[in-house]
Symmetry: C2
Subunit: 335 residues, 2 copies
């Protein structure tokens, strides 16, 4: 049937060679040469042959797929739509995968469905999985079932991870505000379930203690609304605050809005510093000073480790957070 897609057998027949030789040529493997190579290539071109991924995966036992897994609190995929952070993860992986002809599969799970779904996923991991958001317990469980996995957030010690220096970043952020002469520095932290948020909290507390600052803080979800409301609360309780350290840019954008709405000028009256350097930081007005996380680099490093085939348990690389100064802390820098 000319209707159905050509298979490698068709190619072999047309080229007048065996299926094995056709396979060798198609995969650029040694052991076939000269005129046969050309004949096979011609046949491929003539038939418009494209290898079937599924068959290739089954026969070789190692499909070329990297899975990205995020466990979020709410709707499956809710995070992807609202938090620009995750886009950077995918963006960082893409060029590398492109290079080796691997594919990217995205899985968004809710906490309820996570346990079962993760087992299912673990059984079908091929090149490897990247955990972009997950709790330590679930990560450890996943790692127990599948070794080819790298986490992008701090988790159990055994799980290989490419993690940002959240503690150091938060510490540096608070220190920066202090250096600018701010003394009544409040903090808005993320949800406790997030290990990133927990680390940023630690960094903040450490800095506050060392600098002798009062520990003024509020908790919020990693959303703009969360930041907005937390800032309102903070403003009520501490109307004289002169700086806010916010654990995520999305929240920080809300904080700036709340401050403006509350009659404060940013940065003149109150300095704001965010975290992540996501699109929310540059879209805020004024643009946010923030701690840039090399998310793309971390994601790329995770993929590189997975592609290397050797993912030692406990392997951990720490990526520094870098201060990006924009206008929300008083710099004249303009985008």
């Amino acid at each position: 049937m000319s209707r159905s897609k050509p298979t490698i057998d068709d190619v072999a027949r047309v080229a007048g060679v065996s299926r094995a030789t056709a396979s060798r040529v198609i995969n650029n493997a040694p052991g076939a040469s000269g005129p046969l190579r050309v004949r096979v290539q011609e046949a491929v071109a003539r038939l418009g042959y494209r290898p079937n991924e599924a068959a290739r995966a089954l026969a070789s036992g190692r499909p070329r797929v990297v899975d990205v897994i995020a466990v979020s609190c709410d709707l499956p995929g809710g995070w992807l739509g609202s938090n620009p952070y995750y886009g950077r993860v995918l963006a960082g992986m893409m060029p590398l995968l492109e290079g080796v002809g691997a594919q990217l599969r995205v899985h968004a799970l809710t906490h309820e469905s996570a346990a079962g779904a993760l087992d299912e996923l673990a059984a079908n991991v091929t090149l490897g999985a990247v955990l972009s958001d997950i709790t330590p317990t679930l990560a450890a469980r996943f790692h127990r079932r599948c070794r080819r996995v790298v986490s992008l957030v701090p988790t159990a010690a055994t799980v290989p991870a490419m993690v940002a220096d959240n503690i150091g970043g938060a510490y540096a952020a608070v220190t920066h505000l202090h250096r600018l002469g701010r003394r009544r520095i409040a903090a808005i932290h993320g949800p406790l379930i997030s290990t990133c948020a927990a680390d940023r909290r630690i960094g903040h507390l450490r800095a506050a203690q060392q600098l002798g600052l009062a520990e003024v803080s509020a908790d919020a979800a990693f959303t703009r609304e969360g930041g907005y409301r937390a800032a309102q609360r903070l403003l009520e309780q501490h109307p004289d605050l002169d700086a806010v350290f916010v654990a995520c840019d999305l929240m920080a954008a809300g904080v700036v809005q709340a401050l403006t709405a509350g009659g404060r000028r940013v940065p003149e009256d109150v300095n704001v510093i965010g975290f992540d350097d996501s699109v929310a930081a540059v879209c805020a007005n004024p643009p946010l000073t923030t701690m840039r996380l090399p998310v793309e680099e971390m994601a790329a490093a995770a993929v590189r480790l997975l592609l290397s085939g050797d993912v030692p348990p406990g392997h951990r690389e720490l990526f520094p957070a870098e201060l990006v100064v924009r206008q929300s802390t008083g710099s004249p820098t303009v985008g």
Copy 2:
């Protein structure tokens, strides 16, 4: 070997049934019943059996995978990291795919590599492909090679599409500004290569003509920087403008910043209206009035069509853009 993963044969042996029956139970297919069902399920649980996706895909001839394809101008994946729009596409598809146990594969292509890569992809499309960003030519080519495809942007007429009413939305946006009493309305359009941008331009021009407005506009890339610079240019040439229609929120966030930097108050001096209702719109300060596109719904509708199995060429559904009023056009609404 207890080392290697259990197969369906192992399950069948342990359960004391045939492979066929095991398959029936595992897939919830009719034709197996009573005690056998239980025995198979017990065996599955005991062995920790998980079906192999690749084998399943090969044998059934229809792997459960939906591909999302975007062709961007720059780096592979660059768009994903910088434009929150695409996250919404993925988020919209996720719940539906979850429901049917299908997977989501993401492909980010550059214009150079697109042609060849698209052919490759078209040959391996299974449940279907969603084109989230592509030129009409490439879309038509893809559709010629693979019918199971839906575009989320306006393309060639033959390609099935779930598209937003970009023309009507832009028209409504400009009309809204006019209704607020604004008369010196400028526009910032997106790149010509984007059909969405082209349609929004048409809508703007149509409204400008009907309302008797001067056609003041600038072009920019769909980025915050692009919006910022275009606004600066516009402000130089037309310092008296009192409103700006911007073809995308990301640009609009930059526009607000440029206006603020140029000493204009938003919304008092200049009204700004964006497009998309992305995270950039709510992060901007003041939050942006914008034309909300039901991106998630469009993406979901695309998936639903693909899952239905019947994707008639030329099929097209138009999704209305909805005005979301926030502060950048003077409303007192606060997030």
